[in-house]
């Protein structure tokens, strides 16, 4: 049934439909609407789940780790500082091989205190062993959340579903909300591979000597390497039941494109319009929407970008002292190819600043008009007057 849903509530609906058994979360803007709706579902009996209120995100993650260790389907949601506060437990969740699903609303980190979009919060968790999916709209959010449970439970790794703050989390869109019956068909109850049982006590996650630790890490990597194919199978199955799929990334008019814009999240939506306009003007522009960030789909990125003349990456995030994080990753994916396009890195729209079609066109033309990048990253839309005043 089609409903007009807030992006946040697309997550909540998916969690309800996934028959999640345990939720623990701590409120933080702009995530709060997600768990607010879920707590209402738990309170009114719509969901048969335990909602555990805690005093921090650190405890929220600890609680879902505990629940997942006992073999139940567990979920949490957070944003920005909340995610940063969970950091050590993110490593734990993946090392413990627990199929936890979390929604993170991408929000800037302070100071300066800022509640708006910036993807640095989740991108700086890239090495924690979590699968990451950056979503573009409400429908993708709902669908990806449902798929996330299947995927997590299939490879025993945790999954993070990412939404842009406000542009997605607080925007109302028509979303197809599937029937419970259909979802049950797609997502059977969890048959846990890890399940603590008081009747049959055993110890897990204890100390591991150097003689086995490395193998344990390698085992996680092998599971990560399975994800791409598993996700593809899951999406195929999803498509059979629901009639849609989104893919781990999406190449829009990349086949003959001379310049490909690469970006993630809601910015990809804006890019779709920009390349349509550019095509009308005779420009051979394409878009590579980056959705799956971990595991990193290196092969597909090489395939889609390898033939282009130039690649422009738009990062709504930044790694200080280096460059935009997506740009780094794309460069590293391409670097072992003999023939590769130059990668132009652009930083834009940090802390909720708008990235308009004009911004993206400016990026396109700057890329077209320069043979090589002016800089490792070019900051777009800076207030030049202010910046110049610092050099006085």
């Amino acid at each position: 049934m089609k409903k007009v849903l807030e992006g946040s509530h697309a997550v909540s609906e998916a969690v309800r439909l996934a028959r999640v058994q345990m939720i623990s979360a701590y409120p933080i803007t702009p995530q709060t609407h997600i768990v607010e709706a879920i707590s209402a579902f738990c309170a009114d009996g719509t969901m048969n789940a335990r909602f555990l209120c805690v005093e921090s995100e650190h405890s929220a993650m600890a609680a879902v780790i505990g629940a997942a260790s006992s073999g139940v389907r567990a979920f949490t949601a957070t944003s920005s500082h909340g995610l940063a506060y969970m950091h050590e437990l993110l490593h734990w969740a993946s090392g413990a091989r627990l199929p936890i699903v979390m929604a993170d609303v991408n929000r800037a980190l302070g100071p300066g205190w800022n509640i708006w979009l910036d993807q640095t919060d989740s991108l700086s968790q890239r090495d924690t062993g979590w699968i990451q999916f950056y979503c573009e709209d409400g429908q993708e959010v709902l669908d990806t959340t449902l798929q996330a449970f299947r995927l997590a439970e299939s490879v025993n790794l945790p999954v993070m579903v990412l939404l842009d703050a406000f542009f997605l989390s607080h925007t109302y869109e028509p979303v197809e909300v599937p029937d419970q019956e259909q979802v049950d068909q797609f997502l059977p109850p969890l048959s846990p591979r890890i399940q603590l049982d008081t009747a049959n006590p055993f110890a897990i996650y204890q100390m591991v000597a150097p003689s086995a630790y490395m193998e344990m890490r390698y085992n996680i990597q092998l599971a990560m390497e399975l994800v791409t194919s598993r996700f593809s199978e899951i999406e195929d199955e999803f498509e059979t039941i629901f009639g849609r799929k989104h893919g781990p990334l999406e190449a829009v008019q990349c086949e003959d494109a001379e310049i490909i814009l690469a970006t993630a999240g809601t910015t990809a939506s804006t890019c779709r319009h920009v390349i349509t306009d550019l095509r009308k003007k005779g420009e051979k522009a394409g878009l590579l929407k980056l959705k799956m960030f971990r595991p990193y789909p290196t092969d597909q990125i090489r395939r889609h970008l390898g033939q282009a003349q130039k690649v422009a990456v738009i990062d709504r995030n930044f790694s200080f002292g280096a460059s935009g994080i997506f740009a780094q990753e794309i460069k590293s994916a391409l670097c072992n190819k003999d023939v590769r396009p130059p990668v132009f890195g652009y930083v834009a729209g940090l802390g909720g600043r708008d990235v308009t079609p004009q911004t993206l066109e400016e990026i396109y033309w700057q890329t077209k008009n320069n043979n090589i990048p002016k800089d490792e990253s070019v900051w777009i839309g800076l207030n030049q007057e202010l910046v110049e005043s610092w050099s006085n």
């Binding site: 090392g95 006590p201 055993f202 110890a203 204890q206 100390m207 591991v208 194919s229």
Partner: protein, 586 residues
């Protein structure tokens, strides 16, 4: 490299997992420090002359174990109903809770415990050692004599108390007005002492002949005859004045006293205040004339405060020099006196911390009143009541003096106590009883050391249970400081105040001013207590132990040293400093 997995393969999970319990990892071997349960002394207990186990009493009340709390008081003090009313409660001044908000209402709690327990007919279950065949004579059935007999009787001695007055109680019976201590309360407390086997012989003054008989038939003598002879004011016209102590005695015997008008009370001790407040109840307008200042008065502070609220006037820095009959008064019924007072001033020098006053030149003032009462202190009735300095073998202790004669003789109560209070008299009785018991069991030379070993904290108060080697025996003398309390566990809460008559109501009769707390109020108040230095089974040590090494068996806690890493979290978390951390000796 390994072959790539296909999506159909089920990749085995390689995670740390073992069916061996973590108990195999005996983390206790990492330990450098060892936590232990170590009970310490609460400041209230150490400040109590009777050394009552106050934190434990409050703990028992908070758990609703009122009878047990009462028995815990009775272990150290035979008169909880009395002390709950008339004690000057130094415990409350010492209470660590003062640093957070207000002290625990310890005196109200003591009274509640006693009243509540005695309202049922079930007697106290007190430890009593069987008769050892030794007899002790006690001269004086005041608080000191009765306490001595009580403690000695529990230690297995047969005690005979000789009292000159027709009823026992001494100052409690004759010197403290009924609005502070109802007669019925006193009688109940004395009855309990008789019930454990103490014989009280009233109207039996200890004469020379009786002394001789005691020397022959008893193994020891305790002398606690108190100060019952009033000190006389030696000024011209003093014969016109009434004696304060005698006046209180008259009131307590029920004699009708028909007085009216204004009255001056000379003195600044508890007797002066009691006289003034009694006069106020009889409808007179009393003025207390004291030679020093209010802050120098030996009377207990709350008593002074209530007296002033009841309308008693206070004249400070005046010393009477003569009393004359007012020549203008016509008949005897409305005769009045003029008392001439020397004005005093505070001298720069102090004597033992107390302000010294000297005459302020030749400035005087006069006071015209209908009645004058003298309450400037009392002394011993007979010379033999006071220990003589001539004896060779004698031991001067904090609350008594023991002399080795034909039979050992102990002087106690007001005769030897620096602070003349009921609770100090009890302390005296306990000290005498323990000293005599040590004397009979281990000899003269062991007395001092044995007394030291059953002290409460580092002060003079003694504990009978510690002497008997019971629960308090292991308690460390260290007195818990507020800084050693984990104050994070305690929220500010107002002290519970028992229902009290207004000054206007209290003046109408000799009824008690303060009522006994309700059980609900008492439990609420007991819950405020930090229980300094003692374990009240709050269980925070166990809850916070990261190694699950705090074990509870039959309500007793112990540390499982196989797993305790010695992190000390339990000791830090303990809200009341009932634990300690000591270096591991390897």
């Amino acid at each position: 490299m390994t072959k790539k997995q296909t999506s159909k393969d089920e990749l085995p999970l390689f995670i740390p997992r073992s069916s061996t319990s973590t108990l195999i990892n005996k983390t206790g071997s990492w330990r450098y420090f060892r936590p232990l349960y170590e009970e310490k002394t609460a400041p209230c207990s150490a400040a109590c002359p009777a050394g009552e186990d106050i934190p434990r009493i409050e703990m028992l009340v908070s758990q609703g174990l009122i009878k047990k709390a009462w028995e815990t008081v009775l272990d150290e003090n035979p008169f909880p109903s009395i002390c709950g009313r008339v004690c000057f409660h130094p415990c409350e001044k010492a209470c660590n809770r003062n640093e957070l908000d207000e002290s625990i209402a310890i005196h109200s709690m003591e009274r509640f415990v006693s009243e509540s327990a005695t309202s049922s007919s079930e007697p106290a279950d007190l430890k009593k050692i069987s008769d050892n065949g030794k007899k002790v004579a006690v001269a004086g059935a005041g608080p000191a004599g009765l306490a001595t007999a009580y403690f000695l009787s529990r230690l297995g001695y047969q005690c005979d108390v000789f009292e000159a007055q027709p009823e026992p109680g001494g100052i409690l019976r004759w010197g403290i007005p009924a609005y502070r201590l109802p007669e019925d309360t006193l009688k109940k407390e004395i009855k309990r002492i008789e019930n454990i086997g103490v014989h009280i012989h009233c109207k039996t003054m200890v004469t020379e002949a009786l002394l001789q008989k005691i020397n022959q038939k008893y193994n020891a003598l305790f002398i606690g005859c108190g100060y019952s002879r009033p000190i006389k004011l030696k000024i011209p016209g003093a014969e016109s004045a009434h004696d304060g102590l005698r006046f209180l005695h008259q009131i307590r015997t029920g004699e009708k006293v028909a007085l009216q008008g204004t009255a001056a009370v000379v003195g600044g001790g508890n007797t002066a205040i009691d006289v003034a407040r009694t006069l106020a109840r009889l409808g007179l307008k009393p003025i207390v004339a004291y030679r020093r200042r209010r802050q120098d008065m030996p009377a207990f502070k709350p008593e002074i405060e209530t007296a002033l609220k009841e309308g008693v006037k206070l004249m400070e820095l005046v010393s009477p020099i003569r009393i004359e009959e007012d020549p203008s008064s016509r008949s005897k019924s409305d005769s009045s006196f003029i008392m001439t007072l020397q004005k005093m001033k505070v001298s720069a020098k102090e004597i033992r911390g107390r302000a010294r006053v000297i005459p302020d030149g030749d400035k005087t003032k006069t006071l015209q009143v209908q009645h004058i009462f003298i309450a400037i202190g009392a002394e011993a009735q007979a010379l033999w009541h006071v220990p003589s300095a001539k004896n060779n073998n004698q031991l001067t202790l904090s609350h008594s003096k023991i002399i080795e004669q034909k039979i050992p003789v102990v002087f106690g109560g007001d005769l030897t106590n620096e602070t003349k209070s009921v609770t100090d008299a009890i302390a005296s009785g306990k000290q005498a009883a323990i000293a005599l018991d040590v004397y009979f069991k281990k000899g003269w030379d062991a007395i001092e050391e044995s007394l030291l070993s059953c002290r409460v904290g580092t002060g003079p108060a003694l504990s009978m249970t510690a002497y008997l080697g019971e629960e308090r025996n292991g308690r460390k003398p260290h007195i818990v400081l507020f800084d050693e309390i984990n104050a994070d566990y305690f929220q500010s809460a107002a002290r519970v105040i028992p229902p009290t008559l207004s000054p206007a109501q209290s003046l109408r009769s000799f009824s008690e001013i303060e009522a006994t707390m309700s059980k609900r109020a008492a439990i609420k108040e007991a819950e405020r207590c930090f229980n300094c230095g003692i374990c009240n089974s709050c269980d925070y040590c166990r809850i916070f132990c990261p190694d699950v090494a705090v074990m509870v068996e039959k309500a007793e806690r112990y540390i499982n040293l196989d797993y305790c890493k010695g992190c000390g979290i339990c000791v830090i978390e303990c809200p009341r400093n009932a634990m300690a951390l000591e270096e591991e000796k390897k």
